[in-house]
């Protein structure tokens, strides 16, 4: 017992040493016989590496890095159940948000029925599982509570407690007030989205960007400014806080005015405050020259105050430059800025490269190959987030590859960079991810052979990315150009799953590819095409009848004559006896609804169908076709010829034929 006790009381260092010694003894003893056997006496010193301090999640992260992305499985957040795997972009969002909604509901119950959750099983208690503290008018509060709330980033509670303390007349220390001011300015006195709602953030950020465009969101005369007013005398910190807050929420004029005021009073601010103001220069001045002048003034002020510019300064400068309409000036100044910061040993983040891309690769400017140089510099490197705009790089780079340079090789390089190390963390959110893959797939389908493209397609679709109808059209176009009808059945099944079947242009494309690429030698393919056509026919018919019943859905496809003619052709081509009946069904549909269907099937489609009638010995049906053709002012003589030559017609049929096209002999003479 005593021994154990002394061991425990030993300082940690000595314990480590004794253990180390023991290990060394043991290992040398084990190796000694071997070395003596060879006769060479050498003392190996085994250096035991020092303990590496690891964070609680290091082990988990290294384990996680061994798990690759399985392209055949849905994302981890979705249940791996065939019925619960989302198969369209809408479903992906809905399922993820449903899960989040469940979390929110649970949280709501926890807060609403807090009395049920007061027991704490764990020792020590897990604070995260306990209901949140509620502060009311008569809560016992003091500075310590306020400080803790600020540390936890609970804005609304902190503000409430602050007001309570003020009412009670409790003196609050300057530091605490300053730190509360910082928090209020940072969040603009608006409760931020809880960090737990990771899905909501993943799907939300494109909305937030739209809000940003609205302009000023800073709350004038609100708590932040009251707090600022109550700080006397004004400290540099107070100035810096209010300037940054106003700049962040685009109260540009006042932020700049405050900066000037601070300058007049010769208050030394810090780099990040200047960065915040440089970021909004584009909103302060209108022309590129004025903006650049103001930016230079600000930099001079920084230099005068002996402030060291950092990455934030660089990115703010580049952001300002990217708003220049004059692209020559923009290019020139951006290179100057880069050179300046190279001298200052500031290394670029992905956000800086993003700005360079939007400065150099403009829609209405000359083509620039800057992305090649950027990729040469950064390919194979691993990045971590250093600036909020870092997440914009990949989507923009792929956009440049597709729309600016149209270069497949570059796109692959960008893709490699994305999959280097943990760079995928910087993809941003769901919106940017889908933009990235949209450009990637569209570029590949235009520049690669169909077989190569389908390899990538299989890898990405549907679990990582689901093509939007526009991209599907691009893919179909490339299939058409390459005449690869073999892929159509597969693409069609994807289109059905992704809910693209209500897009008329896509349906027409699919039909056209199948009709134009007839391969009489490949029966299996013809049969597949026939299946696709039948499937499409049924789907549209369902839609039409459903729309007719409810009269609600506007977004449905209705048949056109051309479409039905294509379907008819495909069924005839791929068909055996069973399919001939279905072809009859389709034709009867055309015949019956000819008043409501716009357009007519093509002449060729009808001719092929009539030939098939001849083949299947159905004179009555073929005469129906002829009648339809005559009524609709279509080329009928060819049809009549086929019928006349193909069948030995009885009296009734002959009479009908004569009534439709006149005397057969004159036609034949023609």
């Amino acid at each position: 017992m005593y021994q154990i006790r002394t061991l425990r009381l030993l300082p940690k260092n000595s314990m480590g040493q004794s253990w180390k010694l023991a290990t060394v003894d043991y290992t040398t003893a084990a190796t000694r016989p071997a070395s003596s056997g060879t006769g060479t006496e050498q003392t190996e010193t085994i250096v035991i590496p020092k303990r590496i301090q690891r964070s609680p999640t290091d082990l988990l992260q290294s384990l996680a890095s061994t798990v690759g992305r399985d392209a055949t499985a849905p994302h981890f957040k979705y249940s791996d159940d065939p019925f619960l795997i989302p198969m369209s972009n809408v479903a992906k969002r809905t399922y993820a948000m449903s899960k989040e909604a469940g979390r929110k509901a649970a949280k709501w119950i926890k807060e609403e029925h807090r009395e049920l959750f007061l027991h704490q099983e764990a020792q020590p208690a897990i604070e995260k599982f306990a209901p949140r503290l509620i502060f009311s008018e008569d809560s016992e509060v003091d500075e310590v509570v306020l400080k803790k709330l600020i540390e936890q980033g609970q804005l609304s509670d902190a503000v409430f407690v602050y007001k309570l303390l003020e009412e009670k007349g409790v003196q609050i220390s300057k530091e605490l007030k300053q730190s509360l001011l910082e928090m209020v300015c940072f969040f603009n006195n608006q409760e931020p989205l809880s960090e737990e709602y990771i899905e909501e953030r993943w799907f939300l950020q494109n909305n937030r960007r739209r809000e940003r465009g609205v302009g000023k969101t800073w709350k004038d005369g609100d708590l932040a400014e009251n707090l600022y007013a109550s700080i006397e005398p004004k400290t540099p910190q107070a100035y810096a806080t209010l300037i940054r807050g106003m700049a962040k929420y685009l109260q540009c004029e006042r932020a700049y005015a405050l900066l000037q005021e601070a300058g007049e009073k010769e208050i030394i601010l810090d780099t990040n405050t200047f960065n915040a103001v440089i970021q909004i220069v584009s909103l302060l001045k209108d022309t590129a020259e004025q903006r650049w002048q103001l930016t230079q003034d600000l930099l001079q002020q920084m230099a005068k105050q002996q402030l060291i510019p950092n990455l934030g300064t660089l990115n703010a400068l580049l952001e300002c430059i990217s708003t220049f309409g004059n692209f020559k000036l923009a290019r020139q100044t951006s290179l100057q800025v880069l050179a300046e910061f190279k001298e200052l040993n500031v290394s670029l983040s992905l956000g800086s490269y993003y700005y360079l891309l939007i400065i150099f690769c403009r829609e209405r400017g000359p083509v620039s190959h800057i992305i090649v140089d950027i990729l040469n510099e950064i390919s194979g490197k691993e990045f971590s987030i250093q600036h909020p705009k870092d997440t914009y790089f990949f989507a923009t780079a792929m956009d440049v590859c597709r729309n600016h340079l149209h270069d497949k090789v570059l796109a692959k390089k960008v893709n490699d960079l994305l999959h280097t190390g943990k760079n995928y963390d910087l993809i941003g959110d769901s919106f940017k991810e889908s933009v990235y893959y949209r450009h990637y797939l569209a570029l590949l389908c235009q520049t690669e052979t169909v077989d190569d493209f389908m390899v990538t397609y299989d890898l990405i679709v549907p679990n990582i990315y689901i093509p939007e109808p526009g991209i599907m059209e691009e893919i179909l176009r490339s299939l058409e150009i390459n005449g690869s009808v073999e892929q159509i059945p597969r693409i069609w099944s994807d289109m059905v799953i992704f809910d693209h079947t209500h897009r008329e242009s896509l349906l027409l494309y699919v039909l056209r590819i199948m009709v134009d690429n007839h391969r009489p030698d490949n029966e299996q393919l013809s049969a597949q095409c026939c299946q696709v056509a039948l499937d499409m026919y049924q789907k549209i018919e369902e839609q039409t009848s459903a729309a007719g019943k409810r009269n609600l859905r506007k977004n449905f496809v209705s048949f056109t004559g051309q479409m039905l003619g294509d379907i008819l052709t495909l069924i005839v081509r791929g068909g055996d006896v069973n399919h001939f009946e279905q072809a009859n069904e389709v034709f009867n549909y055309i015949d019956k609804n000819q008043h409501s269907i716009p357009g007519t099937p093509s002449d060729v489609a009808l001719q092929e169908y009539v030939r098939s009638c001849v083949h299947h010995k159905a004179p009555t049906q073929s005469l129906l076709v002829l009648q339809y053709a005559v009524e609709n002012n279509m080329e009928s003589s060819k049809l009549a010829q086929i019928i006349h030559q193909g069948f030995t017609l009885n009296e009734i049929h002959l009479a009908k034929l004569k009534s439709l096209v006149g005397d057969m002999d004159s036609l034949l003479l023609k």
Binding site: V67, E199, R201, A339, H369, H406, N517
Partner: protein
């Protein structure tokens, strides 16, 4: 896809009937390109033609004609149900077609008719005619312009009939040379589908080129080569020279610590995304403080007790020594209390000590009573 409407109502349209498919085909091609060029090409054509047309009265007439042609080209897109044939229309259409046939025998004569209607002098007629044809066939206007000018000077002194025919032929052949064939539009016949064409060309080529170079790329390459601006030396610019090297110190810490903390937190949220596997999920929970942290330690977060040695939990006799009698029932009782406490993991060492001291105070308070009791007990045992 673009269905060529045969119902052209005006006489001009009917006269130009045979050319309409070509024109439509070209328009179709342009429209698919229009996404890229904003459709600027077609409007430019129109403008240049307007500029080049002759004197004032003729110009207005030519403009009207151009407008008509322009509307004809765009009309084809709006497919409304009324555009499609209906069963009753058949005979009416046939009659109309017969009527029109006479006029539409030849495109050239048609164009010539119009030209003669518009112009008075021979050169004007020819000009209008060639403009008309160039508009229809999509010939580049510059070519006709030069051609027309040279022809105009040459033919100035000639007689009417003979040069006119040669001129016309020349114009037409050149027009046809300048025509562009739409690659997207499928030819009408079933034997000549696009797919067949592609397959045939692919087969004939028998893959002599790189398999991953589709037909589109060479053209693209050419465009790039023309506009190649060279690589950009990212760090080769002239520095601004605002920040002097001498001023570089180690960067000062942020003035605002809370702000810094919050922005770091927000930044990390930017890079976070939904966990992709269970390990990431666990890491996320760990960061949120919901599960044990690695390395697992069953005294995690027991901050109060971390400095207390286990012996202080177990060896509680030391608290008895100052006050407890060395033998007797109280000692016995207190030893039992100590054993019980030493086995209790839910109470801190300090609480255990306080518990024992509570007994000390209790016995102190009841000291007299206890003494009496013990005396009574002793006398009883003595008497027995």
């Amino acid at each position: 896809m673009l269905k060529v409407s045969t119902q052209l109502v005006t006489t001009v349209r009917s006269q130009l009937l045979r050319i309409a498919p070509i024109q439509n085909a070209r328009v179709g091609y342009l429209s698919s390109q229009a996404k890229d060029d904003d459709g600027s090409s077609s409007s430019d054509d129109e403008k240049s033609i307007q500029k080049k047309s002759g004197p004032q009265p003729v110009e207005t007439a030519a403009q009207r004609l151009n407008r008509l042609l322009g509307s004809m080209a765009t009309d084809q897109y709006q497919i409304s149900p009324s555009d499609f044939p209906h069963p009753g229309d058949a005979s009416r259409h046939r009659r109309e077609a017969l009527k029109q046939e006479a006029a539409s025998k030849d495109v050239l004569t048609a164009a010539k008719n119009i030209a003669s209607m518009l112009g008075t002098s021979e050169s004007e007629k020819r000009q209008t005619e060639s403009e008309l044809l160039s508009k229809l066939l999509g010939k580049s206007t510059a070519e006709t312009e030069t051609n027309k000018q040279s022809k105009g000077t040459e033919d100035a002194g000639h007689t009417e009939s003979i040069p006119n025919t040669t001129d016309k032929e020349l114009n037409l052949s050149e027009l046809i040379v300048g025509m562009k064939i739409d690659r997207r539009q499928q030819p009408p016949g079933p034997e000549q589908t696009r797919g067949d064409y592609v397959r045939r060309t692919l087969a004939s080529r028998s893959r002599p080129m790189h398999s991953d170079r589709p037909a589109r790329l060479p053209q693209q390459r050419k465009r790039e080569a023309e506009s190649f601006t060279g690589s950009v030396n990212l760090h080769g610019g002239e520095p601004l020279g605002i920040f002097k090297k001498a001023a570089t110190k180690s960067s000062a810490p942020d003035l605002l610590q809370t702000w810094e903390h919050l922005s770091q937190h927000e930044l990390s949220l930017h890079a976070s995304h939904p966990p992709a596997n269970h390990f990431e999920q666990l890491a996320q929970w760990t960061e949120q403080g919901k599960v044990w942290r690695f390395p697992i330690d069953n005294e995690q977060d027991m901050i109060e007790e971390s400095i207390v040695d286990f012996s202080e939990h177990i060896f509680l006799d030391q608290h008895l020594e100052p006050w407890c009698p060395s033998r007797g029932p109280i000692r016995h009782f207190m030893e039992l209390v100590c054993v019980g406490l030493s086995k209790n993991p839910h109470v801190s060492a300090q609480e255990k000590k306080e518990h024992i001291l509570w007994f000390r105070d209790y016995f102190e308070a009841k000291k007299d009573l206890l003494r009496d009791l013990i005396e009574v007990k002793n006398t009883k045992s003595l008497s027995v």
